[in-house]
Homo-oligomer: 166 residues x 2
């Protein structure tokens, strides 16, 4: 029921990514395409892996993940970028089965950690994750450079000295 | 001055990882070894890449990063796991040069985002990152399953249905 994705699943996976973006109120930021998803999962240099949940031949949910690395542990870990189950298939434990499949892969591969991010207002998901024993990394905030800010940082000269630990 | 790390840099890199752990008050969590760092950067299936800052032949700072993937953009990105400059070499712009080198790699590879995490009390670093144009992903919190909690999730049966978006 939970199995590794194949190239035939790409259209379903893109559809679920778009539904998730809708749920997260980020639909405008979702500009992926079938060919980009195919390249990421099944191209010559894959940057992610995916599992899907299948019920009576229908893909009802998916997860997409990749390998990260902890310098403190000295070991790789798994970062779960997306997990999503169609609304009409919720409350059957499918999400939990997906996460359990991924946690099993972590143990099989000797990964030190299994991590993912959640939006602070997404209380149902937070409760679910806490029920699994996951711990909130409350002390940490992610910073992001993208688009014009990333380009501008590269193209402009910065002469002032750096502060802080760097 | 900022160059890709080589296998000869592994002892210096491990030393800097340990200094960073000390600075972050997480020295006890830092159990990496030279052989683990070597495997991660230069093994048969590398999980990370690294650049070092060299001043008069001495490695004075480093960064370690890996590729992540945005399902919304459909493109890979760079996640900077660690960046660190020895205290006696700070305020010379070395950290900024390291970040600029990494941002340049992001553009060269067509990455959509350049991301990293910072401890909420590390105000000097936060100010530095904001001065570069980086944006805090304030709405998101990372959850982590590791060690005994990860094992226990895999080994125990959970029968209650999942809630939320999964």
């Amino acid at each position: 029921m939970i199995r590794a994705a194949t190239p035939l699943d790409v259209p379903s996976i893109l559809g679920l990514i778009q539904e998730l973006a809708e749920y997260e109120k980020l639909r405008d930021s979702c500009i992926s395409t079938e060919s980009l998803v195919h390249e990421a999962l099944f191209g010559s240099n894959p940057s992610a892996e995916s599992v899907v949940a299948e019920v009576n031949g229908e893909v009802t949910g998916f997860a997409l993940y990749f390998t990260n690395f902890s310098t403190f542990l000295g070991r790789p870990g798994m970062y779960l970028e997306d997990v999503y189950v169609k609304p009409e298939y919720r409350n059957r434990g499918i999400g939990k089965q997906i996460l359990k499949k991924l946690a099993t892969i972590c143990l099989e591969r000797g990964y030190g950690r299994f991590e993912w991010s959640v939006l602070d207002w997404n209380e149902p998901s937070i409760n679910f994750y806490q029920s699994l024993g996951a711990v909130a990394m409350d002390e940490w905030t992610v910073y992001r450079l993208s688009g014009e800010a990333l380009r501008s940082f590269v193209e402009n000269d910065f002469c002032e000295p750096a502060e802080a630990s760097v």
